[in-house]
Symmetry: C2
Subunit: 511 residues, 2 copies
């Protein structure tokens, strides 16, 4: 019997590694589509991606997998702790994948594909009405999905769990409420400040080739392994990790907006460092997979915002910028550059917003998604509610639905429950950063010298190397010694923006 069990784990692992390799091939096809593919190849690529997705689904839902998982879950004797974690995570994935009936999966694929087309056209014409019937169908299907997946508390939990394992509305509501309460006076103070940083210097002309050279230098300074990565261009920046030894990021350049590529690359490099830090020895198992989107996003935000937009890093990068852009930066010192990069402004567009107001964009979406899912509001109510809430949270009104409720592709793609992970990324990052500043001696002076190795080492040790060994909330608790709390992020903002805006008192939190 023990002998029999000994064969079961390797058999399961072999099958799951094969499926993972198919998934990686699919990742490559996706990467290629955004970076290299000739334009006319879109149709054949869609067929390839569909075939790979089908095979991946087949391979991960085979009854034999279920049998192996059930046996190894019941009797895990002889398995090490890592192997037990793999069985647990594979079981998690297997349950999610097998709970959805095939007709629902097909219907979701079809409807979201058509909904995306409808969304593109609707956004172009700022015509919510033409998108509404599609969104209605998506929401209905996501409700059915939540039902099939099952949940204890709120149906939203079932969807959230896909991106942030074990996260629930019950846990998230107080976190988000705490964040909102903390943010409101900060946002009010910054938007109402009489003296604001001047960011015009960032809009001078910065030639693309020099920007690219700088970006590659920064990747090296961050510790991205050149022999295990690529940097390419794409319309929408992303990071794609096929293996810790094959991690590819993309960026886009804007010659009239210096932060675009530089901080885009730091952001994606943060993701890349996580992927490269997963243990190659465990490649193909959950121990070498990122644990959640919220943790992934914490890595990108930490490198982009906490490090990249800090005064010490700006001091470090300043001479490297000056060397390449002497005329553009004539008379601009590190402190002015730091301030320029820290200008906070209310904008209707999430992806253009700064790290302070960004979170209110997510709060808005989170509230609407929850209400939509349980039927407290209907799809037709969305444009009005969106604009009301935007006014309330940021004091602005989008000029049309294209700049409001239609701005993001997520809902058309069926990604409901995804937005909160962006916000969790910010909170995780601030809490990790708080702990790093305690654990790594003289971190600011290290950053100012471009010595980022000790920070990366800390992240490797406390976050990257664990893969999916612990659920994300536990990973953060182990790494920082505390459960997730929005306080760290609020304190981080007060410190940084107090300096930029010369504010020492933030007024009382508003209810």
């Amino acid at each position: 019997m023990a002998k029999d069990m000994k064969k079961k784990y390797p058999e399961l692992k072999r099958r799951m590694k094969e499926a993972q390799a198919i998934g990686a091939a699919s990742g490559l096809a996706g990467w290629d589509q955004e970076t290299m593919m000739p334009p006319k190849a879109a149709g054949s690529r869609a067929e390839q991606l569909a075939a790979l997705a089908g095979v991946y689904h087949e391979k991960t839902t085979e009854p034999a997998i279920g049998r192996l998982l059930r046996k190894l879950t019941k009797d895990g004797k002889g398995l090490g702790s890592g192997e037990r974690a793999c069985v647990r995570e594979w079981m998690r994935d297997y349950r999610r994948a097998t709970k959805l009936p095939v007709d629902l999966v097909r219907e979701l694929a079809k409807v979201t594909s058509l909904a995306q087309d409808a969304w593109i056209k609707a956004r172009r014409a700022s015509d919510f009405g033409s998108f509404a019937p599609w969104l209605k169908r998506v929401v209905a299907l996501k409700r059915r999905e939540a039902k099939c997946l099952g949940y204890k508390g709120h149906p939203y939990d079932a969807l959230l769990d896909a991106y942030e394992p074990e996260m629930t509305v019950e846990m998230l509501d107080p976190i988000i409420e705490g964040l909102r309460e903390g943010l409101v006076p900060i946002v009010a103070a910054l938007l109402g400040a009489r003296k604001k940083p001047d960011s015009r210097v960032l809009t001078r002309r910065y030639p693309e080739a020099l920007q690219e050279e700088l970006c590659r230098e920064v990747m090296g300074i961050m510790g991205v392994d050149r022999e295990a990565s690529r940097l390419d261009r794409s319309a929408h920046p992303f990071c794609c990790g096929m293996a810790p030894t094959d991690v590819r990021i993309t960026t886009r350049f804007n010659e009239r907006w210096l932060p675009q590529a530089l901080y885009g690359v730091m952001h994606e490099s943060g993701h890349a460092l996580y992927e490269q830090g997963l243990p190659m020895k465990q490649h193909g198992t959950p121990l070498a997979e990122a644990v959640s989107l919220g943790v992934h996003e914490s890595q990108s935000r930490l490198w982009e915002n906490m490090i990249g937009r800090s005064l010490p890093f700006v001091k470090f990068i300043h001479p490297r910028l000056k060397k390449r852009f002497p005329a553009q930066l004539a008379g601009v010192g590190p402190r002015e550059l730091f301030r320029a990069l820290g200008r906070v402004e209310a904008t209707p567009i999430r992806v253009e917003s700064d790290e302070v107001t960004y979170n209110l964009h997510i709060v808005l979406r989170y509230d609407l998604e929850k209400a939509l899912l349980v039927g407290d509001i209907g799809v037709r109510d969305l444009p009005g509610l969106w604009n009301d809430r935007m006014k309330e949270l940021l004091g602005i009104t989008p000029k049309d639905d294209a700049h409001g409720v239609l701005q993001d592709t997520h809902w058309a793609q069926g990604l409901i429950g995804y937005f909160p992970t962006y916000l969790l990324g910010n909170l995780n990052a601030a809490q990790l950063w708080h702990r790093i500043r305690r654990d790594v001696p003289a971190v600011d002076s290290k950053i100012a010298k471009g010595s980022l190795g000790p920070i990366l080492k800390w992240l490797r040790e406390r976050v990257h190397r664990h893969g999916r060994r612990f659920p994300p909330a536990e990973l953060i608790r182990r790494a920082t010694g505390r459960p997730l709390s929005p306080g760290y992020f609020i304190e981080y903002l007060k410190g940084k923006y107090g300096e930029i805006y010369d504010i020492s008192s933030w007024g009382p939190a508003r209810g």
Copy 2:
């Protein structure tokens, strides 16, 4: 019953298209490996390729496919001629794939993988002895493969058939003998000529960036669809067609050898035009697949040699070269350039040889492969026989085995029966070219003006659009009106090299 049959074909087609899409994903992974992949990703890529190959094999050998094929072969009523051709070709593939026992397939994969490692080391050290045991194992496995696949005449037929469907030793022997007889006096005359073309002009320094620009211009002139293709760099140039809308070629640049990239790109573009000319409407079926390696190679050789290295094309390209390389080409007119490009020399290395002597390299390999397979010679006899035959055919002796029997990777990879397709490519090309010159009016003056569209149109009509509708020999017969004969190639060489070397009489054919 008829109704039932009506469902069977779409079902078969759906399954085969899915398998084809997996094959295309595998093609992409292979392309990426040679062009884009970070160096450390080799291990994970090997796993992905193995997983894709496994899935492809599963999908194409499922018993359900066999059942559908048998039924549709027996009762093809209601199928159109294209559908019948698809069933025939799918059946052909299915039989080849299912005749090999799984243990043989695995053993071949393993041994050839290790044999390639051994070959790389053996070639580096010019040590045939260390490679010999591996080659012995490969040959033994290929003998077993031939037995499993079955053959009527020579065991070599079973292997040849993988690359050149329906070709046999019985058909090939007289063709190759005729070619050899025709070539020997030509080679003797050219190698013995007192006045040889001077090719030193081609070794001046041609900056890579300008060469690349030229190559891209030439691709456009040839009619390669820019929106459905890519040109990248790789160590070994190749063409990879994932779909008619997604065809990628590679090249390598040598700043001290102008023909390298230019004619490399014309060669690969010839392949690309074939892939792009396959009917997109039939994508995923044999009607949109290249029929054989020998026909594929005819397309590359026709564009590279018959067109690219012709005097009219050199006249056309000359001002474009002059514009980019005025100093390097100072005082060099089109005719001198044409002559420089047409220098014939005996070299021990196949891939460095010219279009005349090239074929004798293949004759040598063909004879050895056949003898090896039936056991007329042993692996240990190869180095000696290689050098003897090289002396006999080209009058030279390789300085060591690295420049002789160890030069090519094919045998290590188990590719026995592959070499003759290179030679068939030359013969097919010459025969097609002979016919094109009759069918397309004033072809030389068209070429001299860079008007290559009529040639491409002819090839599209007579070759590309048919895919695998006809077996390769029939395709060539239909396209040219004659069965394949080496005479066209011999006549082509006499005409072209007679002009370059100023020879009007070639002496008698030697037995």
